[in-house]
Subunit: 411 residues, 2 copies
């Protein structure tokens, strides 16, 4: 008898897929004049109100659009339209900013004939400036289905700031005898000139999942994907990841008790992890994707903390930029992490090159290590050898261009 | 009747003073061949065993010399000689490294005729390499009083790595009718090519303070001085601040119950704060000293956390390097800090320029702000308006040179 497939084996990647691959979604993006020439307002529209779950920035300063989106989702846990603008974050804008975000919601409600509490609002761009509401209004009206070209690329482009590439992912699996698809897009390029620091993620799925369970799955998955990337350690006022599940796949409602729940979670995880890595690789000034894998920790949480400490260390990042196999900096970061570490037991590998075994330096070829570090994906593995916890984190190197991008003026 | 002077008014700066200004100390430094041509081994010697207190790195990987110094201090709380080498950190060097650090202590004991447990050992330099013990031995022997020139500058130079300047400070006050002096030196330039990340501080005083009380004062002071500087957020395996109090000022023993205890603490604080600022200003690639002052926090601890978050933000650091008055990045950092923040009440000032009042953006002159940011000392003030806690932190900007210094090879 054949052994049962793992969740990872059941889930398959759809190479050219994205947010419109799941059934029953439309999307578009237009140029409303918030930016010089690029698309700057985008919309995702579900054929019917979809189950919705979202996670938000932990910043004390949550931007106005986040407050409005929370207000919408709280009502029924359903969202049908997501309206997003770039160029202006509408953060630290006081009561006027909050009024503007609600106005953006009501304009979308009227234009798309969708109840206000079925609308999510997101913004990304400069902190402390007000939305140009006349442009927002004209823009939203020109997005109405029929008027807009309506493709995933326009939406994906409209949400970008200093990103150099669009991000998208799509995965599918059979669940309850039905094909279920999860598509996603995201923006975020690090901390970003000028204050456009936001990470936004939008995931669509045709799975049938009630809001409360969708929420459970999203929280579980973001902890090991989006929350494990770092470009420079700064958290934006506008970060948001939002999942819409419209049920058009026709599967019976999923919950943690369903035998195929773990397949759905894996599907969501693959989508989010793919987007998270695309963001890390497109970090400001980045020349390399860095993937850190930690095993042997006291818990998964501690493994993730150690991985994120390594990938976030300026010293590790500059060493990787310079292709310098400086494992002392990896140890420096591990030494600082909020985790149980036995200083006599740590192993460190760069790709397959062993550098430290039970905290003792090994002899390795500097040439081989340097050659490895000149690749465009760098893998660092650490075994703490104190437990069975594991975790990963993703980031990028720190280059001259990072300083250049972030030292320049806002104008 | 005249009002009593504050501690700050009682303490006076001695401009050309340093570790040899307090009575009863000698110091020296020599070139032992650990570095190409610079001085690389230094010693501080007290005429008699001095009360000693020390604070160490919180890294899980404490280097061998730290273990040896702890072992010495634990015996009687007294130290007479401090031996320091640069170029090699003797960290992550296993049992052989620990044996070498003990050997360095015993060589110093023999050369200076001082009991082993009166000797502190410190190292700074590359992680994961062994000390060249033959050079260490010859070096220590040539440091013996009479053979060495014996001045503070030689010691201050011998402990440097990528630092571009020596650091020293000296303050004095009348305590218990006697003149008490506190002198200090430190090294540390950020995270430093290659792994020479260490911050070392050595403070001498002729005050009479028993070890346990000296320890209390040092912990209180380091929390608001050395622990509030950051160059790039990385913590070394070798950090150490050590105070020697030999009692030669002739004052009666000080303790927290003594009416002039607060004057002694202020004396120590001024010395440590001066050194901390010198380190921040000499951070790798730094062009500016950044001083962040936070008031109105729920507690002093929270004020310090917010100040350190701001001064440690890569985005704030690059904006300051680029003279960009990007207050949104300051808000971004405040938003992330581990402190109670009411997002509607925050004030932000750059120098005397008000940028944000009760979390609402103010109109200010971009030209004036840019001109301010082109100075070599930048002051950022934040009022959280939720309590009476206050705190400060110091750091530097993030420049191309930081990347250059840290991306280059270890050779």
């Amino acid at each position: 008898m054949k052994q049962a497939l793992t969740e990872k084996e059941i889930v398959r990647k759809i190479d050219s897929g994205g947010i419109l691959t799941p059934k029953g979604f439309k999307a578009g993006g237009i140029h409303a004049g918030l930016r010089y020439s690029k698309l700057d307002i985008g919309v995702i529209l579900s054929d019917s109100p979809a189950s919705c779950a979202a996670v938000y920035t932990t910043s004390h300063f949550q931007a106005a659009p986040i407050k409005v989106t929370k207000d919408s989702i709280t009502k029924e846990g359903k969202i049908q339209a997501v309206i997003v603008n770039s160029a202006c974050a509408n953060a630290c804008t006081g009561q006027r900013g909050l009024d503007d975000a609600y106005k953006m919601r009501s304009l979308t409600s009227q234009a798309f004939n969708v109840a206000e509490h079925y609308i999510a609002v997101a913004s990304t761009g400069v902190i402390g400036e007000f939305l140009p509401m006349d442009k927002i209004e004209t823009g939203i009206q020109s997005l109405v289905p029929g008027k807009m070209k309506g493709n995933a690329e326009d939406f994906q482009t409209a949400i970008l700031t200093t990103d150099t590439v669009m991000k998208s992912s799509c995965f599918a699996a059979e669940i309850n005898g039905k094909t279920v698809r999860v598509g996603g897009t995201a923006k975020g390029s690090g901390m970003i000139h000028p204050n456009m620091a936001t990470m936004l993620g939008f995931i669509t799925t045709d799975a049938n999942v009630p809001p409360q369970h969708l929420n459970t799955a999203l929280k579980e998955v973001t902890d090991i994907t989006f929350n494990q990337i770092t470009v420079d350690g700064d958290t934006s006022t506008n970060d948001m990841v939002l999942v819409l599940a419209n049920g058009e796949a026709g599967n019976e409602p999923l919950s943690p008790e369903h035998p195929e729940w773990s397949v759905f979670v894996q599907l969501l995880k693959e989508s989010c992890e793919s987007l998270a890595k695309q963001i890390a690789k497109d970090g400001e000034g980045a020349t390399k994707l860095v993937e850190v894998s930690v095993i042997g920790a006291a818990s998964n949480e501690e493994a993730r903390a150690v991985a994120k400490q390594i990938v976030g260390s300026n010293l590790v990042k500059t060493a990787i930029y310079g292709a310098d196999a400086n494992w002392g900096r990896i140890i420096g970061a591990v030494g600082q992490a909020n985790a149980y570490v036995n200083p006599d037991l740590v192993d460190v590998k760069l790709g397959s090159i062993e550098m430290l075994k039970a905290s003792n330096p090994l002899i390795y070829s500097e040439e081989e290590a340097k050659a490895y570090l000149e690749r465009d994906k760098i893998e660092i593995s650490v075994n703490l050898n104190v437990g069975s916890g594991s975790g990963m984190a993703w980031g990028c190197d720190l280059s001259y261009d990072y300083v250049k991008i972030n030292a320049s003026y806002r104008t």
